[in-house]
Symmetry: C4
Subunit: 276 residues, 4 copies
Amino acid sequence: SKWKIWSEQDVKKTLHKRDAYSHKGTFGTGLLIAGTDEMPGSAVLAAKGALKMGIGKLIVGTSKFASNIIAQHVPEATFSFDALDKLAIGKIPERIHAIAIGPGLTEQVKIEQALDTIWKSEIPVILDAGALIKRNYPKRTAPIIITPHPGEFSRLTNISTYEIQQNRIEYAKQYATDHGVIVVLKGTHTVIAFPDGTGLINLTGNAGLAKGGSGDTLVGMLLAFICSEKNMKAAVANAVYLHGRCADILVKEENERSIVASQLSKVIGKVLKEIE
Amino acid sequence: SKWKIWSEQDVKKTLHKRDAYSHKGTFGTGLLIAGTDEMPGSAVLAAKGALKMGIGKLIVGTSKFASNIIAQHVPEATFSFDALDKLAIGKIPERIHAIAIGPGLTEQVKIEQALDTIWKSEIPVILDAGALIKRNYPKRTAPIIITPHPGEFSRLTNISTYEIQQNRIEYAKQYATDHGVIVVLKGTHTVIAFPDGTGLINLTGNAGLAKGGSGDTLVGMLLAFICSEKNMKAAVANAVYLHGRCADILVKEENERSIVASQLSKVIGKVLKEIE
Amino acid sequence: SKWKIWSEQDVKKTLHKRDAYSHKGTFGTGLLIAGTDEMPGSAVLAAKGALKMGIGKLIVGTSKFASNIIAQHVPEATFSFDALDKLAIGKIPERIHAIAIGPGLTEQVKIEQALDTIWKSEIPVILDAGALIKRNYPKRTAPIIITPHPGEFSRLTNISTYEIQQNRIEYAKQYATDHGVIVVLKGTHTVIAFPDGTGLINLTGNAGLAKGGSGDTLVGMLLAFICSEKNMKAAVANAVYLHGRCADILVKEENERSIVASQLSKVIGKVLKEIE
Amino acid sequence: SKWKIWSEQDVKKTLHKRDAYSHKGTFGTGLLIAGTDEMPGSAVLAAKGALKMGIGKLIVGTSKFASNIIAQHVPEATFSFDALDKLAIGKIPERIHAIAIGPGLTEQVKIEQALDTIWKSEIPVILDAGALIKRNYPKRTAPIIITPHPGEFSRLTNISTYEIQQNRIEYAKQYATDHGVIVVLKGTHTVIAFPDGTGLINLTGNAGLAKGGSGDTLVGMLLAFICSEKNMKAAVANAVYLHGRCADILVKEENERSIVASQLSKVIGKVLKEIE
Ligand SMILES: Nc1ncnc2c1ncn2[C@@H]1O[C@H](COP(=O)(O)O)[C@@H](O)[C@H]1O
Ligand SMILES: Nc1ncnc2c1ncn2[C@@H]1O[C@H](COP(=O)(O)O)[C@@H](O)[C@H]1O
Ligand SMILES: Nc1ncnc2c1ncn2[C@@H]1O[C@H](COP(=O)(O)O)[C@@H](O)[C@H]1O
Ligand SMILES: Nc1ncnc2c1ncn2[C@@H]1O[C@H](COP(=O)(O)O)[C@@H](O)[C@H]1O
Ligand SMILES: [Mg+2]
Ligand SMILES: [Mg+2]
Ligand SMILES: [Mg+2]
Ligand SMILES: [Mg+2]
């Protein structure tokens, strides 16, 4: 079959050691457009996820007010207060290897304009939350990755959440092949569908992830791997796998009730060590 | 008797495992109205308590200045800068499963107006600190939970603190049955009185809790369980039990003098693990 | 002799267990006037020290800008943005059991006016850093505690630092008896001189304390004990002893070079546990 | 040969124990000019590095907005909001034992003017990032230390990065002797060239450092040792050695992918303990 379960063995095979002679440029610069005054935390979580997954450099496009909060958590990142505005007026940022856009964003019009600009570039892009808008995707070589949870996927497809959940693989596959995008349909046993009709199923993760913020951390983890890994399929699958595995390691010491999204990034290192 | 001590066995019996197929919607969205420019920490503590107890989503209604401080501690939460104002002018927030109001609040008039709005809804509500105002409670199905310490209960009842402390169970029971509210009378051996005349006594906790902020953490813990648990009596009793137990676990490594309220949430996971 | 070395045995004898039926009011409310926009950290360190030593409630009088920084570290504290201004115009704060003033403060005139107000009250007070101004002390029952390092003591006394260091005990004793204040002359082997001519010498601490911020933590630790302990001599000596002991415990895992002032408060609990 | 590898033995021999009778003045006051509104983290990382390496006092010259973020991480530091402006108009700061300038800075003209002021003083200075401007260095006794990565060194020398990397030692040595400055040419096996033609090679560190922020931490570590150590060659070499060793200790628990720059300072104490 063209669909398979993504296992620890797959991760081991596809995650390479960092070259001794690498420098930060080797691992790419990611642009994360996320976070507003009333929703700064989504950007915190995504930024932390990106950094702990080994991104070379991270630029966070966010509001000045939100940047103050984000910077506390990620002194390794730099900020751009007008990144979204610039994208919205058609300016493609320079020397960026991947963009993630959406967590904590609300301004639909600006986001749509920004997407129009991104479509014209060949920068790989991850669309989440506020950037999961029903619209056409362009024909381009660089991947477009969408990360809806069932509710968001329902809004994108006009199919009810219940119906989607009855047939997660089929609906994800359909959307991926129809629109030429990579679909990460989140929720228990996340489904990853590629435009070529193939797909992967992830078994890591637990109900401790059923909380606000879990998805934001995943966006950052994906951004890091899209920036720094060559194999796009493996990059996406590995990020999803590791995200769930972080939750699995956390419930060994705590409880599904108590773990929160900000704890996920704290154990990325431990999880990578286990697998390496 | 209709009164009993709430034990570890009771917690075990009433705390259920999270369903593998749950998502954040399964555990409810809580609205916490707390914190002002000069008292931001109360909201920090309550928010952290709510998140570490497994709430699905948390919205903190607070001042913009305070939100900056709170967001540092809880990137999983989102904010509303006008939640109290909106409640005060009669707007009932949508898709909220429980409200906690009071920690760090001072504006009496606005709070009273907000309470009038809440009374009209069927959203369960927790009243603490600044929201413990002497007034009539409405007849409604959704529970009203008040969490006074003896000093606050004295102000509510016009009975001296000394007198209350001589007969904690009786006064709590009286107030609960008279007003149709759940009374959590705090202090050594917290007393929980229900409107039906029954009640529970909690034996966890220690003098390490005798410090500013302990009660704020409890409010958040209660909010999470009111949001995500079915059995209201057990939800309240379990939150009170676990709050005290966090203090008990902390004094094993430290001292009653040294533990502070922000440490309570840090061991919720460990406590839940012990009990699970 | 009327002078002795303060030992672990002395601490053990004078530090009492918290009463099981205590509440936050039992341990007093302290007012810390410290921190400015360019020197916020001093207040962070003092506040943390106070809280980890078991103060009942802590109010930090500081600038609004500084409060944002302080609140991140001590969600258990509340703030007053005009506490110094109010003291300066003669308003004595209500329900305050002790005041510490000085860390990170620069406005000499306001501080002097505030001291004039404090003198009129019977609130115990700790003077440090910016509040170590050469001036007369009033006759009052409540203790005045000054905490100069040798350089600051030199400015207070017009005696050279070198000369002071040759005869630390004599100069501290002289000043304490002449002015009726408690002198905590800091530095290697801190000397504590009381107005009655008696004194104590502390042997804990190490060169890891020879860094900006160490003294600020001490101020907070003193404030907590002045607020919550009965015996003033023991309160001062215990705070000084424990402060040094925190540094001693830290260098077991790290190095005198690497320990920083904010780490001191983090081990207060461990130190208290060792001694309890 | 006049070039050698700097080993653990060399560090052991040159790092002295802190004198028991030292005070914060013994270890010098450093001025760090770093960080802007959109790049505050660089200053956070440098400041933390300086403090954990034992600097006596640290003043951070930065924007007010950035100071809020920095102060959260380093309550031990104080701030100057106009330090760069003052340097730019020719004012030499008082009682400063070393200056580090550049991380996160962008205003080229002001930086050049500030450097002109610094040249006139005899304060040792470290130039990094935004302060690595192609220009003449003055004749002075106090050392000038530059810390370029290969890309920055390429801009300073007009030699391609590729060419530099083929012959790191030769190019670093040439520049050091030609310009009378200490060159810390970063990257795998950092090369340290002194104006007298001698040099050192560092073998610690790993690809976990190939990320934004690693160099900022190094600047702070260098500043601390330039402030507090007598032997300038050893001071530079020890800071570089320890910086890499922090990364080496971190990958024992985590992975080269997951370690981030802010973690380096957290293990300085452990590394110093191992070596002491
Ligand atoms: N019950 C569950 N079991 C496993 N993973 C879950 C569960 N609930 C949520 N998740 C994951 O948590 C994240 C939630 O994303 P979001 O809804 O955007 O915050 C996704 O990665 C989901 O796959
Ligand atoms: N001496 C004590 N023993 C046990 N619990 C206490 C004690 N003092 C305070 N508490 C608890 O700490 C919290 C204080 O609430 P508050 O006064 O609102 O900060 C309540 O949950 C009290 O039950
Ligand atoms: N070399 C040292 N040995 C022991 N304690 C010290 C040493 N240097 C400083 N201290 C202590 O650190 C604090 C410094 O206060 P300050 O100078 O105000 O920051 C005081 O408590 C001193 O007693
Ligand atoms: N692959 C690597 N191996 C060892 N050290 C590295 C490596 N990449 C970067 N570094 C170090 O990390 C820091 C990077 O500085 P910067 O580029 O200014 O952030 C320098 O100290 C480099 O020597
Ligand atoms: Mg989401
Ligand atoms: Mg309370
Ligand atoms: Mg001092
Ligand atoms: Mg750099």
